[in-house]
């Protein structure tokens, strides 16, 4: 033991802990950090330790779940009736829109067949629930209650009813971690729905702000323009709402315009999210499958020539 008899140490003695050991531990921590930063072993380690990590996540989420259940239990009936009515109206609206869409989809399919386009918009989705825990307030990550046992893979886009939320970055057996589009390390290729202008929206670290730097000054961009995913980069499929332009200004150099956008998805409200199952068009040539039978499949699996960014 480093400390022998603490009570006999005088008030102004420097404690007995040695500087050498501090240096050794600091060096060890730094070496681990550098190795992990380069190699990203933390996720593998977390995977191995999932027997401890996952229960800890669930336990930490327990209080907020109890609060939510309590709120539901004491909700008044009139409130529930109101909510029910609102949901029914929303469902009706969605149904009508869907019916119109299905006609359009059928037409689109026919036209696509005529054009011989292989890209398919058939989307498989999967529901997952947010586990309400807080990993780090300065990084925007959320934990979902589905993992590799539910066939979640890294890179799956995460959506809610209003737009793109983010993507899965870490998968454990029964939980996964998703990075939100507002994380400072996240970028998403977007397109201005009105003009087709393509750019990239970066996360800012603020939950209600996206940043679009380096827009040409001559570009046609207005406050209120809707941003949708452009589908470039091959991670997010095209056409999902991302946000709305809030303000446009010149950047410091004056050579480019920079815009601020508000995310379309309700990032700050927890609940259920959708995970897209079918990853969009694969990048590069497809992996040759051993069980390939017909040459027709071969054609359909080749990527669209415009898919490269």
């Amino acid at each position: 033991m480093p400390v022998t008899s603490p009570d006999k140490v005088s008030l102004f003695a420097e404690g007995t802990v040695s500087t050498l050991r501090l240096i050794v531990y600091l060096a060890a921590a730094m070496i681990i950090m550098v190795i992990d930063h380069r190699g990203g072993y933390l996720q593998g380690l977390r995977n191995m330790a999932n027997l401890v990590v996952e229960p800890a996540y669930r336990a930490a989420a327990l209080p907020s779940e109890v609060v939510r259940a309590g709120k539901l239990a004491i909700a008044t009936q009139s409130h529930l009736v109101d909510e029910n009515r609102a949901l029914k109206e929303a469902l009706l609206l969605a149904q009508v829109r869907l019916n119109r869409m299905s006609a359009l989809t059928a037409q689109n399919d026919r036209l696509k067949q005529l054009l011989d386009v292989q890209r398919d918009l058939g989307l498989g989705v999967q529901l997952a629930q947010l586990i309400d825990i807080d990993l780090d307030p300065f990084r925007h990550r959320v934990v979902l209650n589905a993992g590799s046992a539910q066939s979640i893979v890294v890179g799956q886009p995460v959506l809610d009813a209003f737009g793109v939320m983010g993507q899965v970055v870490e998968v454990m057996p029964n939980t996964s971690v998703a990075m939100l589009i507002t994380d400072p390390a996240h970028a998403i290729p977007v397109m201005v729905a009105r003009t087709g202008l393509r750019t990239i929206a970066y996360g800012t670290g603020a939950i209600d702000r996206l940043q679009l730097p380096n827009i040409p000054i001559s570009a046609d961009l207005k406050v209120g323009d809707a941003l949708v995913t452009s589908g470039l980069g091959g991670r997010f499929p095209a056409g999902f709402p991302v946000g709305e332009v809030l303000e446009i200004s010149n950047d410091e150099s004056g050579m480019f315009a920079a815009a601020i956008a508000r995310p379309a998805a309700a990032l700050d409200r927890s609940g259920e999210v959708l995970l897209l199952q079918d990853l969009p068009q694969p990048m590069g040539p497809p992996v040759p499958e051993p069980g390939m039978q017909t040459p027709v499949e071969d054609v359909s699996a080749s990527p669209a020539p415009g898919g490269q960014p």
Binding site: R21, A29, M33, A56, A60, I133, P137
Partner: protein, 164 residues
């Protein structure tokens, strides 16, 4: 006597596990930045009160566990806690006899120093600089310190009273 030691160990382990859970439990979004570094508060307490249990090696291990649960880079919290515990152990003989207000100020200084260590680590990792409310959490930690201290002290005093 051994009963009392067992109870003491239980409080020790329980407080650290509780700190981990508290660290993971979310606050409402508006308050998210105000969450103090609970793990550090508990470690400071035990480094002051039970230095035979909390050494640099222990802080290192707890930090690794914290990284496993919460962190982004393995070793970040290990480094932070080793620095923290080292400073506390160095000045332990003085910190112990500070009145609670003065002790809170010392905790504020420790947590601010911890924030600077975080900024350094993230700077080296190439992360963007954190927003301004990054600096609010140490103040909240200072305000929370008396409660942590009194709660844990009271728990220990009860055990002592019961066993004698």
């Amino acid at each position: 006597m051994s009963n009392r030691r067992r109870a003491h160990a239980l409080i020790f382990a329980g407080s650290i596990i509780f700190a981990f859970l508290l660290q993971l439990t979310p606050l409402p979004l508006a308050l998210a930045a105000f969450k103090p570094y609970w793990l550090a508060l508990v470690m400071i307490y035990w480094a002051i009160e039970a230095p035979h249990r909390v050494g640099l090696g222990f802080a290192f291990l707890i930090g690794l566990a914290g990284d496993l649960l919460i962190g982004q880079v393995l070793g970040e919290q290990a480094l932070r806690l080793v620095v923290l515990v080292f400073i506390v152990l160095r000045f332990r003989s003085r910190l112990r006899f500070f009145p609670i207000g003065q002790q809170s100020l010392a905790v504020l200084a420790l947590l601010l120093n911890d924030r600077m260590v975080v900024m350094m680590i993230r700077g080296f990792a190439g992360d963007p600089m954190p927003p301004l409310d990054f600096w609010v959490a140490p103040v909240v930690g200072m305000l929370a310190w008396p409660f942590v201290f009194l709660l844990l002290d009271d728990l220990r005093a009860r055990i002592r009273a019961k066993s004698t």
